[in-house]
């Protein structure tokens, strides 16, 4: 899933300080799963904005609505009859949401309510970890199913650097050295020799370095 975290409420309040009729728009996709932008979180943000208004003696109207997804035009269309009723829209979807809204409703003032962090998964309740860097050329099968591009701080493909110490990365004791994990796993599986295969320098043209990406699947285009 795409993992995000709430923006500090002060930052959101600063963004919408000049607006009195606000729609908090949630998304039932990834951000619902990572508890940051679903129906429940839309209600929490709306309530928080109302408390702030109460504190400041300001009269505002805040409503909340949650779309099936904010990254598909047919769902973004759902709010077409209500969007003009609001001075400001706070999207708590990932960074795709506010952009789809801004593109579909060019005159609407759309603000992001979350900071999008990475593609990853829940490693325990309330803890998410990055797993994919979206490089556009998946190679995890070479490394015991683990991704050194997303999970090695240097994205090394031919073994650990000298900064690997006791299974931890030199950048932080909180970061596992993925190469330590890969080597241990392949050793346990008796497949260590597979790591001797030389990985040539990776072409990053399929990654972000190739510029904004676009995917067209002709069999699906109507």
């Amino acid at each position: 899933m795409i993992v995000a975290e709430p923006k500090p409420i002060k930052e959101i309040l600063e963004m919408v300080k000049d607006y009195n009729k606000i729609l908090v728009l949630g998304c039932k996709g990834c951000v619902t799963v990572c508890n940051v932008g679903g129906t429940k979180e839309a209600a929490i943000l709306a309530s928080t904005l109302k408390i702030a208004a109460r504190k400041n003696g300001k009269k505002i109207e805040v409503e909340e609505h949650t779309l099936e997804r904010q990254c598909d035009p047919e769902y973004v269309d759902e709010v077409k009859d209500m969007i003009d009723d609001y001075d400001a829209i706070i999207s708590i979807a990932c960074g795709v949401g506010p952009q789809f809204l801004s593109e579909r409703y060019p005159t609407a003032r759309v603000f992001p309510g979350v900071n999008t962090k990475f593609m990853g998964g829940a490693v325990e309740h309330g803890v998410w970890s990055e797993r994919c860097a979206g490089c556009g050329q998946c190679v995890v099968h070479h490394f015991g199913g683990l991704c050194p591009i997303a999970r090695c701080s240097k994205s090394l493909l031919n073994g650990p650097c000298g900064g690997s110490s006791n299974g931890k990365c030199e950048i932080s004791q909180d970061v596992d050295c993925i190469w330590d994990i890969i080597v241990r796993k392949m050793t346990e599986l008796g497949r260590l020799e597979e790591l001797l295969e030389f990985m040539p320098p990776k072409s990053w043209i399929t990654a972000r370095d190739g510029g904004p990406r676009r995917l067209i699947r002709e069999e699906l285009v109507i």
Partner: protein
């Protein structure tokens, strides 16, 4: 703060230990301040962040949660979860420049009827001291 200020306080209390404490308090003829609105919940772990925010949105000046001792929650982690959510809301209030002391959590146990009344009085005094949420 003006002597006339009567804060609106919402108290969420667990239907196990805190509820028994309430019964004991009643048996002792101890009354809670009538500006404290009591809301019984099956377990304080059921309380969501939104439940704790809503009273502030709707005019409350203080909120507290009365639950079990950490080692005697019938549902094991209910009070621990509630404590984390209260801490989250304290942080939210702080970011809104609202005193975080307006929300609190108390660990009670079944026989503590006096404590059930004392926490209500303590919150009442504290919030009276703080005054209304609205900025002057």
């Amino acid at each position: 703060m003006s002597d006339n200020f009567r804060p609106k306080i919402v108290a969420f209390y667990c239907s196990n230990c805190a509820s028994s404490a309430a019964n004991v308090a009643e048996g002792m003829d101890k009354a809670l301040p009538d500006n404290v609105k009591m809301v019984q919940v099956p377990c304080t772990g059921r309380l969501e962040i939104l439940h704790l925010l809503k009273p502030f949105e709707e005019g409350a000046d203080g909120v507290y949660v009365a639950g079990c001792q950490e080692d005697s929650c019938q549902y094991v982690t209910g009070i621990t979860k509630a404590a984390k959510r209260v801490a989250y809301v304290k942080n939210t209030l702080e970011q809104l420049d609202i005193e975080p002391e307006r929300i609190n959590i108390y660990n009670l146990s079944a026989g503590k009827g006096q404590a059930f009344v004392d926490v209500a009085l303590e919150m009442n005094d504290r919030v009276r001291e703080l005054g209304p949420v609205l900025s002057e």
